[in-house]
Amino acid sequence: MAAASSSDSDSGRAESSEASSKWLDAHYDPMANIHTFSACLELADLHGDGEYKLVVGDLGPGGQQPRLKVLKGPTVLSESPLPALPAAAATFLMEQHEPRTPALALASGPCVYVYKNLRPYFKFSLPQLPPNPLEQDLWHQAKEDRIDPLTLKEMLEGIREKAEVPLSAQSLRFLQLEPSEMEAFVNQHKSKSIRRQTVITTMTTLKKNLADEDAVSCLVLGTENKELLVLDPEAFTVLAKMSLPSVPVFLEVSGQFDVEFRLAAACRNGNIYILRRDSKRPRYCIELSAQPVGLVRVHKVLVVGSNRDSLHGFTHKGKRLWTVQMPAAILTMNLLEQRSRGLQAVMAGLANGEVRIHRDKALLSVVRTPDAVTSLCFGRYGREDHTLIVTTRGGGLIIKILKRTAVFVEGGGEAGPPPAQAMKLNMPRKTRLYVDQTLREREAGTAMHRAFQADLYLLRLRAARAYAQALESSLSPVSATAREPLKLHAVVQGLGPTFKLTLHLQNTSTARPILGLLVCFLYNEGLYALPRAFFKVPLLVPGLSYPLETFVESLRDKGVSDIIKVLVLREGQSAPLLSAHINMPASEGLAAA
């Protein structure tokens, strides 16, 4: 057993060292200050010199200072501020002619900024959305002062509730205003035309007409108004427009635009829609019943990570192939492609700091990092073909190089029975005392049983007697009579010689108030002095707890203490409703007094 477990752990260690030996640690900077998503990481030969750079659309710490960073090796080559937070970055070839340097596209807000040679080259803005004609008409009337602000508001409200086309920001803001501010607002804005603009949520590239690696590509944009746009790479005109039932979050495209392509869009409603070239609407739909956190195509399989910590494989027709459970939440996913070996696999960055590499169901490798992984990217970097770029939650940057000799084999991760099976059971120990007691019981079991039974009877008898006595003399602190259901508890505060005694009296009936109660204290007058030993209780409203306070002075300085009895009486009745015995503490303040 012990041997088995040790050999097991040995093999486990061997496995992990073997797995890590596939990778060379090239660079680790925990303070690289890079905060980004996988969608904003891109590796590209930006200058056409065969030296691949890392492009990072950085959100900045706390999403405050968006920057475009370009890294060469471990150093930042250039850094330029961005007008707004980048949603996605992509590199693509715009035209055929030499030199074939790829352009860099950064999607941010309603615009795509295109850089060439790291210089701003073009800015594409999403086309304005058609405004609601009714709304436009209303503002037109307002401009000509044919309509007063209040009617305008009512009409807009009506449009908002029914219309298919949502209102513009201007109208929505107007609806939020107080009546007094409306006039000014209308005067200020009436001359402007209504504008509706949407935002880019995701972006990817799609080959135009050739499948080659260095073929011209189109940009594919997903927008907040549930549309997909395909842009012409040269003229930046919209080549195709498709609509989705929800807002796209991740896109995955294969094929060529001019020939045939398939587009998978993971959306905010937890569904993945699959479209083809000729379809304006989705052809297939995968319902995840969870939120997708990543979408990667590996050969012909769509791999989806869900926020229920699992990876799913789907065909292009939406049929589920497999499911793998992850040990922690998936934060990001990306594709690992090793062209020389024809390997495609999916990498998943987990919240526990692991990067798991899966080919279909099989776990190929686990890379451990010191922090939760926020983005992943694999490809050619510098002059090294197989480089893994990882950024972590604290802003760290890790660069690892895959050894040229490394081969991924299935079962490189965990296999066989779970490790817990080799652990010894945590058994409670047997003690000497236990053994002795057992022996004694065996010898004298009958006697023990009889003695116990006899004592049990006695105990029950005493309890019954005490209970009967308490009932007879209303000694209990809770009165259960139908007319006066009452509860009493007392608190003594202070060190002495003066104590504060607080009685909490509560009427536990549901509706009826209680009137005409008296409280009486019984105590040894030689020991204690109370200002009032007898007083009336105010009307008790049901449910509330009434604190009744009184001071108690201890008269003796010998540290003696006694019981004070509290009786709650009804006017005109001599038997108390309930009573409490308060064990007074010994006075500690005597030395000073």
Binding site: L85, P120, E224, T374, M427, H449
Partner: protein, 519 residues
């Protein structure tokens, strides 16, 4: 070219751009949905702190008009357990865009979580008007109807949901309805379909396995539980159920190895420690058995099965006084089980309290319908008391039960019990007991292999009767019979109570019904 580039560059930064309109009188309005994508990304990555920051920022900028920000804020509230707040925010969303079925769905979901099932169904119906082809609405409506105890309506809705799109969850809920109705066969039918649809779902596999276990179809039960364990070797329910089946087969070591996995994952599970305890009992390590059972009892002091096992082990250890306490505690929780009274009677007999023992036997005989051991033990007691007539009556009663059992199933009797019965028969001069002819033929070969050889037909759903029988027969053997029988008897098999199957299969429906009652 260079000039052009310069121009574009100056246009580039937004600061320059946004300055221009600011100079004019009417300011540009920020796009409401500007950072929705970021909110969503933070949300799905469970980075709720960052998410809340962005939401706050965006809501400030848009003066609370950004619907999606409110929506995600509500989702986060709900995850954090502030369901009332989430409900209010979702209602705000529904006001901002009244045509969205999604907002209504979330309002209904929050209502559902607050236990307002009636209100939730109303809102779901409202949402269904806006979006008719949503399986989620149908499914959730079905779940609401389950809680409202309108099982027919619930079934309709769940079938609708399946019709729109098949999901494992819907199958599970449908199965639960059938279990609530007490229709095991239909439930199995549903779960079978579900397993066909998603063959790798361990929860479905485990549930189906447990259902088969309840019906006593052990082959299939083991098959499905085994499948579940292939896909998830650490599945708690499946391991416990499979382990308890192994125990009934006497594979204590294999079962113990499996339990180690659970012990690591769920170290505070009472059924686990109960089963481990009974494994040790089977291996005759009584002290270990007692300590494991005591831990189980510590973790679940109100579980009568654990108390029962504790009583049994203490009887075996000849600690009758302790056994008495555990058994009487068990009876307090489960007063309707004849075998418990019988064990109590055995304990009392050994504590030389014949009078109470006899009363316990009377109760046991009254409650028990099919276990011949109860009568046999009673007969032994009566015989030892010199009441041969009473003993004879009990003996005949036992023969009746034995015949009944033989007719109804091919159940084999514990050889020890048979031997005892024969001795008693001889002592009572009833003549050769014909009833035993069949099992007596080769009692020795059955000593240990009874269970393994005839596994499928042999076990009874609770598994405990058998075990009890064994235990009882041993207890009976402690008695000194005039014929000189008795001596030390061995327990051939322990009671491997498949404790887990019961809680897992039945607990959920009862839970649901309990909630309904609360309402």
């Amino acid at each position: 070219m260079a000039e052009q580039r310069l121009v574009t560059r100056t246009q580039f930064p937004a600061s320059a751009e946004s300055l221009k309109p600011r100079l004019k009188k009417a300011p540009e309005f920020p796009i409401l949905e500007k950072q929705n994508w970021l909110i969503h990304l933070h949300y799905i990555r469970k980075d709720y702190e960052a998410c809340k920051d962005v939401i706050k920022e965006q809501l400030q900028e848009t003066q609370g008009l950004c619907e999606y920000a409110i929506y995600v804020q509500a989702l986060i509230f709900r995850l954090e357990g502030n369901i009332q707040e989430s409900l209010e925010l979702f209602q705000t969303c529904a006001v901002l865009s009244p045509q969205s079925a999604d907002n209504l769905k979330q309002v209904a979901r929050s209502l559902f979580l607050l236990g307002k099932h009636k209100a939730a169904t109303e809102v779901y119906n409202e949402a269904a008007k806006l979006n008719q082809k949503d399986w989620e609405i149908c499914h959730n409506l079905g779940v609401c109807y389950i809680y409202l105890k309108q099982l027919d309506k619930a079934q309709d809705q769940l079938h609708n949901a399946l019709h729109l799109n098949r999901h494992d969850l819907t199958y599970i809920m449908l199965g639960k309805i059938h279990l609530l109705e007490g229709d095991l066969d239909k439930a199995i039918e549903i779960y079978k379909k579900a397993v066909e649809f998603s063959p790798e779902n361990t929860e479905l596999l485990t549930t189906l396995g447990l259902l088969y276990l309840q019906l006593g179809i052990y082959q299939k039960a083991f098959e499905h539980l085994g499948n579940a364990l292939t896909y998830d070797p650490t599945n708690y329910k499946a391991i416990l159920a499979a382990g308890s089946m192994m125990q009934t087969h006497g594979d204590f070591d294999v079962a113990l190895t499996k339990y180690r996995v659970v012990a690591c994952a769920v170290p505070e599970s009472p059924p686990l420690w109960n089963n481990i305890g009974m494994c040790f009992f089977g291996k005759k390590k009584y002290v270990a058995a007692i300590s494991c059972l005591k831990r189980a009892n510590y973790l679940a002091p109100f579980d009568w099965k654990i108390l029962y096992n504790l009583g049994l082990v203490h009887l075996t250890m000849q600690q009758y006084a302790s056994a008495f306490h555990f058994l009487s505690a068990a009876i307090n929780f489960q007063p309707k089980m004849g075998e418990l009274y019988m064990l109590l009677a055995v304990a009392l007999t050994n504590l030389e309290d014949t009078e109470n023992a006899r009363r316990a036997y009377t109760e046991a005989v009254r409650l028990d319908k099919c276990n011949p051991l109860v009568n046999l033990n009673y007969a032994v007691l009566l015989y030892n008391q010199g009441e041969e007539r009473g003993a004879l009556a009990q003996y005949q009663e036992m023969e009746k039960k034995v015949n009944l059992l033989k007719d109804s199933s091919s159940l084999e009797f514990d050889p020890e019990m048979v031997e005892m019965a024969q001795k008693l028969g001889a002592a009572l001069q009833v003549g050769e007991a014909l009833v035993w002819t069949k099992p007596v033929k080769d009692p020795k070969s059955k000593q240990r292999t009874t269970s393994t050889s005839k596994a499928a037909s042999f076990q009874q759903p609770l598994g405990s009767n058998q075990a009890l029988g064994q235990a009882m027969s041993s207890a009976a053997a402690y008695r000194k019979l005039p014929s000189g029988a008795g001596g030390t008897s061995q327990l051939t098999r322990p009671p491997s109570l498949p404790l887990e199957p019961e809680p897992t299969v039945e607990a959920q429906p009862t839970e649901a019904s309990a909630q309904i009652r609360e309402k």
